[in-house]
């Protein structure tokens, strides 16, 4: 039983297998474990399809964090006072930290950080569309920290009930930090909303520009997205896009209205009969355009990441240890 049972991707025996090719006994055991509410850990047997889906999901999440640090990072030097500046720095730092935690969680499943960065830079893997929009004014940072982070919390709290141990543990810490972002964001928004007419106008303008990307944030409507019953059973997917979007509207529309702001959607209302929010089509065509690289900032975001990786290469090269061998981290 004793051994240095470290994990290397090339030693995963069922790598690349289709679900029908998996060992039925192991698969049944795996599913029973999840059904009992137990977590799956990196060293457990798992169907390759589970691994693949989680890698894709966690990797996208990690990319979103590191790219998400850019639109707000731009405002640190311009932040108007000490309190906001320090909080914004801490927040953006947290986002980089989230990327670090999430890349590690994805790595435990057998994809190296190098491979993930390569796929990000080549455009092969995606990240949240919302970070492909520009943060034009200070009010944008407030709206992002409040509403985009609110969306992130809904998404992450949902996923933190999932079945994969390392992802769940990372999300627990991330959610805690996000709740600071949310409070900071709301505080900034309230200052603008209760400030001078110019500040209010700035805030309303930011909300106008960010509303559509925020509606896109939870992904295409359920009618357009592929449902897989398997991912629900495996506790990889825990809520549908529309469920999360409804939850967001329920929690935040009243708060936005309370500030006397106008949401740029004339038909937005809660249907008293169904209890569901009704909203205009947020232009899903635009969503697909942006995800396929045609958003206002896609090119810059990737250029900046490429620049950062290229620029830091000599540092990483310099300290590379010749004895190092790659194993998958444990958490």
């Amino acid at each position: 039983m004793y051994g240095n049972l470290v994990l290397r991707p090339d030693e995963i025996p069922n790598w690349g297998k289709k679900i029908e090719e998996e060992d039925p006994e192991k698969l049944a055991e795996f599913e029973a474990r999840i059904a009992r509410g137990e977590k799956i850990e990196p060293w457990d047997w798992m169907p390759f399809e589970y691994r693949r889906q989680l890698i894709r999901m966690i990797e996208q999440h990690a990319h979103s964090e590191i790219i998400g640090a850019l639109p707000e990072g731009t405002w640190i030097t311009r932040a108007p006072n000490f309190r906001r500046k320090l909080a914004l720095m801490a927040k953006v730092q947290d986002e980089v930290g989230h990327a670090q935690l999430l890349y590690s969680a994805a790595e435990t499943l057998g994809k190296s950080r190098e491979a993930m960065i390569n796929d990000l830079l080549s455009g092969k893997s995606k990240y949240s569309n919302i970070f492909n929009y520009p943060a034009k004014t200070w009010a944008d940072t407030a709206i992002i920290a409040w509403l985009v982070d609110a969306g992130a919390i809904i998404n992450q709290t949902t996923n933190s009930k999932g079945s994969y141990g390392p992802y769940v543990r990372a999300l627990e810490r991330i959610c805690w930090e996000e709740s600071f972002h949310l409070k900071y964001g709301y505080d900034s928004v309230v200052y603008l909303a209760t400030g001078t007419p110019k500040q209010r106008a700035m805030l309303q303008d930011a909300l106008n520009r960010w509303w559509r990307p925020i509606m896109h944030f939870f992904g295409p409507p359920d009618t357009q997205s592929v449902h897989t019953e398997k991912l629900v059973r495996w506790k990889v997917k825990l809520a549908t896009n529309d469920e999360m979007r409804q939850q967001f509207l329920d929690m935040y529309v009243p708060k936005i209205w309370e500030l006397g702001l106008t949401i740029p959607d004339p038909i937005l209302h809660k249907d008293p009969e169904t209890g569901r929010w009704v909203y205009s089509d947020p232009n899903w065509e635009e969503f697909w355009q942006v995800i396929n690289g045609k958003g206002p900032c896609n090119a810059e975001r990737l250029a900046v990441r490429r620049f950062a990786e290229a620029n830091g290469r000599w540092v990483r090269e310099a300290l590379k240890s010749p004895q190092a061998r790659y194993v998958m981290p444990l958490a």
Binding site: M1, Y2, G3, N4, L5, V6, E41, W43, D44, W45, L70, G73, T74, T77, R78, Q93, G97, Q100, L101, S104, E107, S112, R113, E114, I117, N118, L121, S122, P134, A135, K136, R169, A170, E300, A303, V304, R306, F307, E309, A310, N311, R313, R316, L319, K320, S321, A324, R325, Y326, V327, M328, P329, L330, A331
Partner: protein, 125 residues
């Protein structure tokens, strides 16, 4: 389009002409597992992992990623490939097959009862 980000603008135009061949394995260094000792007297607890080129930098970097908010008294880092663990198929190793309550305090809950019974018997004699 020029960037809206002043600090990014300062990197232009070089920013747009970066050549970067795909990163090779270990470009981001090897990993270390991080353990935090929260208070004096407590065990170190595993909190995650990080990429670093050597143990000294692993500790320097772990400090800000794993202890920038929580207070703690020490950090440990261990190269991931130095960790030995039992296999997950061996999880049943830890499940006893027979009643082992004789080696636990809860295994001795009926002692008093025995004594009471004896006293009862004495009285009724």
């Amino acid at each position: 389009m020029a960037s809206l980000d002043p600090r990014i603008r300062r990197a232009e135009p070089a920013l747009w002409n970066v050549e970067l061949p795909p990163l090779l394995p270990l470009d981001q260094w090897q990993t270390y597992e991080v353990f935090v000792v929260r208070t004096r007297g407590s065990h170190a607890q595993h909190v995650g992992s990080l990429h670093a080129p050597d143990p000294e930098l692993a500790l320097v970097l772990a400090k800000e990623q794993y202890a920038r908010r929580s207070t703690c008294v020490a950090l440990w880092v261990v190269p991931t490939d130095a960790i030995h663990r039992t296999a997950s198929e061996e999880e049943d190793l830890f499940q006893p097959a027979t009643d082992k309550s004789y080696r636990e305090p809860q295994g001795y809950l009926t002692t008093r009862e025995r004594l009471e019974k004896y006293r009862h018997r004495l009285q009724s004699c």
